[in-house]
């Protein structure tokens, strides 16, 4: 798949502090989640992509064109910054229409696009209020509206769900997913793992300026061979069930839950374990209530990689 955004040996220093450390990365169309703790380099990377900063070493291109001092590129890019800042003396309508002026649209087209964008983020009713009087969630939505009003092919969202209530987050997540179905490229950053999980399975993990991992979260997990999978089994007689696995060499560790009904195993051979579990259940007649993988999520993947 052709990369929409390509970074090659990209490095950025802030004085003596290394913000981005020799990053080489391709981002294809669809939704890609950029995940990492605060200070990992996510915003730095996004600012380099959107031409707000110049790389010290290496380069970043969007559709084959460098982003620094290349304003033509921004016809196709929409950027939603992380900072909660606006031209506070403006209304939501003035803000969105004002910024649309810079695309060369006619007056009627500006109005049409602004109305559509504000409708998408459900701010039509409040469009004539000053942004100064908006709630945090409304401010986040109007920021999003200015990023999509010109119908960009590529949308870069820096912590777009920050400050939103759960309902607001759900709506925005749904909206972002619609972009994918329209064939657009969306790069979303967050330090909140469940948010990224809800949006996409294609992730890039960033930590201390370096890319730790990139790809589908499940495959990433599978590749972490050094760390065994964790499986939790809830049953009527966990100890009896556990006893059947004590001699199994593929089991690395076993522990019991405080509730007295679960036991947790760590194993490198997950499929083998499930096979044996099925057999043990049938032979022993033990009732199994629930089987889950507590670490089959982004949090665990990230913790494994950071701790690796």
């Amino acid at each position: 798949m052709t990369a929409v955004i390509h970074a090659s040996n990209l490095s950025k220093w802030y004085g003596n502090v290394l913000g981005l450390n020799d990053v080489t990365l391709d981002i294809a169309s669809g939704i890609t989640g950029l995940l990492g703790p605060n200070g990992a380099g996510k915003s730095t990377f996004m600012k380099l992509i959107t031409g707000q900063m110049k790389p010290n070493i290496g380069q970043v291109t969007v559709r084959g064109r460098k982003s620094w001092n290349n304003p033509v590129l921004f016809r196709d890019i929409g950027f939603c910054p992380e900072n909660d800042v606006f031209y506070e003396e403006m209304t939501g309508w003035e803000f969105v229409t004002g910024l649309l002026r810079f695309y060369g649209y006619s007056a009627s087209e500006i109005k049409e696009r602004a109305a559509k964008a504000l409708d998408i983020v459900e701010l039509t009713k409040d469009k004539d209020r000053l942004i100064r009087g908006y709630s945090r969630g409304m401010r986040q939505r109007v920021k999003f509206a200015q990023a999509i009003a010109h119908d960009p092919e590529i949308v870069i969202l820096d912590e777009p769900l920050s400050g939103l209530d759960p309902l607001g987050k759900r709506k925005l997540i749904k909206l972002i997913k619609e972009f994918k179905s329209q064939g657009r490229t969306v790069l979303v950053s967050s330090h909140v793992l469940p948010e990224i999980e809800a949006l996409t399975s294609e992730i890039v993990l960033v930590h201390q300026g370096k890319i730790l991992a990139q790809g589908d979260i499940r495959f990433i997990r599978e590749l972490i061979e050094s760390h065994p999978h964790m499986i939790s089994v809830r049953s009527s007689d966990p100890r009896a069930l556990a006893a059947r696995f004590v001699g199994d060499r593929s089991i690395q560790k076993m522990s019991f839950g405080a509730d007295g009904r679960t036991f947790v195993v760590e194993t490198h051979k997950r499929d083998d374990f499930f096979g044996c579990l099925t057999g043990a259940v049938l032979e022993g007649g033990i009732e199994v209530e629930e089987i889950s993988s507590p670490d089959d999520n982004l949090q665990s993947v990230f913790e494994y990689l950071v701790g690796k």
Partner: protein, 262 residues
Amino acid sequence: MNAIRAIREVFGFFFSLGRKTGKTRVFALLGLVPVILAVVVRVVLHGRTGDMAAVFTEILMVFFLQFYIVILALFYGTSVVAEEVEGRTLSYLITRPIAKPAIVLGKYAAYTLLMFLMVAVSLTLSFFIMNASRLADARPYLTFLSYLGVLGLGILAYTAFFTFLGTILKKAILVGLVFGFGWENIIQYFPGSTQRFSVVHYLKSLLPYRPTGGGGGGVALLLFRLEPTSPAIAVLMLAVVAGAFLALACWLFRMKEYLYEE
């Protein structure tokens, strides 16, 4: 979108935004001071036409030339770039399909027009209040236009310089204050050609007034120790100052990256 259109759109955006801010209201109110003074003076000096004209030229023009336009240019000029960086709204502008110099030029044009309007209203009201009894005569109108022209050129030149300062320095206001109220005031006392290293020298050279032979109580305040440059050269120099510093500001803004303070 071509460069001219881009500048025009940026101009429109910031002109309408600039009009609404509280700071513009404060500065516009400051411009009422000479108007109030003009009314007061007219009442006090009722009938003394010559005195009133002299008061305007020698006194109120000091307010306009050496205080009002400097303060306005300092605030708005440094705001062209610094406002966006401090307010962190720069991201909204530089991620649009417009060249960076268009942002500087459009915003400069918007703020310059805003300042010119404030100064023009203040100057018009105060001048014509002071010269109300001479309105049938053509000369006051020519004098008024000269003053307006001088202040307009001053706004253009000072704002361009302060825009350049705002592009290059974090503490542009302080350097601007030292320049506007330190250097510009002191340099006029320096001998020879040193005076020519100031904007105010060229503005004063354009004033439609020259010290009388006796020196007297004439325009001592404004034209003290002035060794004037010819008007043509003065206009040229002001245009060069404005053009050069604007060009530098555009170039710097294009090349520099601005990091927000955490």
